[in-house]
């Protein structure tokens, strides 16, 4: 169970991966061909909800397959103790590290749907080679990276300048990881049952239209300011990832509490975007991080406080994702990949043995997280589009 906790934890903090120009407005286009993202066709809230549901479900299944593959290998009798860390590290490096590279490719080719379908297929193929562990890890890692970039690109483009859709897209992933980890460790149900589900989802995604707003015009802006914003947001994501690795308590070995913690994380990611679009990105992200401080600081004494703490910390995750896409206009795939790279880097110190788990260190990191969010989200403190319309337009 400790292995399960160690694998699921970083994801609970949010890796990695959009808002309101409402899809009912005419700036949304629908195209069956992803290369025609700029074509103006009919769009509707129903279409957007259907696409989001489809990709959210696929996200759940893809993450479940990955977790099942990794845990099936890591739980094998002949896997040494340090082999488990190696398997986890290799999977994380491929799944999180490659997203920035794949994101650039998707931004250039403008084929997010192809990336998502291929990613789902490659991930599913990892289920059919259980006898070659390294191949299974490589396939699941690469497939996961491709799918996330494709799905993330689409979720960020459905409603630019909003955090609702990215949050709803990312949230099911945590649930999928928990499901896959259970399948992979208990062995009561063969993970191969996920294969036909993944194939059906691939067909549906391939047949579905691509919803996307018209491309955001390229803007000139102060490069130093933009890089400062990017740096602060990436720092915040890295700290959140670091917290996720550090906050491991013995009571998590109880399955019920782990399920409750996962549900709290899913709720945090899903609600965070909605609340942020309603009340303001900075208000929700910074406010929730500060509100989480006492819960996380006292979690070592009263572990149950970790549940509200994780919910609050994850409220800011969709905001950082949408803000990254806004800070890199025209590169949503790359922005999505960068957030995952920050998650990976943030998780490295504890994975490599950094001994910082005391309440004072946790409190300091939450304060640093709040400060980074405040500095990074200031351009959007009053209006999500302020950075574009008032400060950055040519």
């Amino acid at each position: 169970m400790n292995r399960l906790v160690a694998f699921v934890k970083p994801y609970l903090q949010g890796d990695a991966r959009s808002g309101d120009l409402p899809v009912t407005r005419q700036n949304i286009s629908v195209s069956a061909d992803p290369s025609h993202l700029s074509s103006r066709v009919i769009g509707s809230r129903v279409n957007a909800a259907a696409i989001l549901s489809l990709y959210g479900t696929a996200h759940l299944v893809v993450d479940a397959i990955c977790a099942a593959v990794v845990f099936r290998i890591a739980s094998a009798e002949n896997t040494p103790a340090d082999g488990f860390v190696g398997v986890i590290l290799l999977y994380h490096a491929l799944a999180f590290g490659l997203q920035a590279v794949f994101g650039i490719a998707v931004d250039v080719t403008r084929m997010p749907r192809l990336a998502a379908v291929l990613g789902c297929l490659v991930t599913a193929s990892a289920l059919v080679c259980p006898s070659i562990p390294l191949l299974g890890i490589v396939l699941s890692g690469i497939g996961n990276a491709m799918f996330h970039v494709g799905g993330g690109y689409i979720s960020l483009r459905i409603t630019p300048q909003r955090a609702t859709v990215p949050g709803l897209f990312v949230a099911p992933g945590s649930l999928g990881l928990l499901l896959g980890a259970i399948l992979g460790t208990t062995g009561k149900l063969d993970p191969i049952v996920l294969l036909p589900i993944a194939l059906v989802l691939c067909v549906l995604m391939a047949l579905s239209p691509v919803l996307a707003a018209e491309p955001v015009p390229r803007r000139n802006s102060s490069s130093g300011r933009r890089e400062f914003v990017l740096g602060c947001i990436l720092l915040a994501i890295g700290i959140r990832s670091l917290l996720g690795f550090l906050l491991v308590f013995s009571w998590e070995s109880q399955a019920v509490l782990l399920v409750v913690l996962t549900l709290a994380t899913v709720a945090g990611k899903a609600l965070g975007g909605v609340l942020a679009d309603r009340w303001g990105w900075m208000q929700v992200a910074v406010g929730s991080a500060i509100a989480a401080l006492p819960f996380l600081a006292c979690a070592s004494t009263y572990p149950v406080l970790l549940i509200p703490g994780m919910l609050l910390v994850n409220l800011g995750m969709p905001v950082t994702l949408a803000a990254m896409a806004e800070a890199l206009p025209g590169y949503p795939g790359f922005a999505f990949g960068l957030t995952c790279l920050a998650v990976l880097i943030g998780g490295l110190p504890p994975l490599l043995g950094a001994p910082v788990k005391d309440p004072a260190s946790i409190s300091l990191m939450v304060l640093l997280l709040s400060a980074a969010l405040y500095c990074g989200l200031r351009p959007w403190s009053f209006n999500p589009s302020i950075m574009d319309t008032e400060q950055e337009c040519e």
């Binding site: 906790v5 920035a100 504890p350």
Partner: protein, 74 residues
């Protein structure tokens, strides 16, 4: 900003120094339950592969960020 980018580059460069420690008994407890199984086969170079992927991805990301910056300036 340059210092942030420098830190971004420094991580993959310093990572190999930390890898030997990660291979030994210094792995953090909660993640690595002890096993009684003897290791016979030569382990796969997963750490080296993982480090290479992270390093390449970071360098590519930095290059793209510079290109985006130049494009915005121009």
């Amino acid at each position: 900003m340059k210092s942030i980018l420098a830190c971004f580059v420094a991580v993959p460069l310093l990572l190999p120094l930390a890898l030997p420690a990660a291979r030994g008994d210094m792995i953090p407890g909660p993640y690595v339950p002890k096993r009684d199984v003897e290791v016979i086969e030569e382990p796969l170079p997963v750490y080296e592969i993982a480090w290479s992927v992270v390093a390449v991805s970071m360098v590519v990301s930095l290059v793209v960020l510079r290109l985006v910056r130049q494009r915005n300036v121009n």
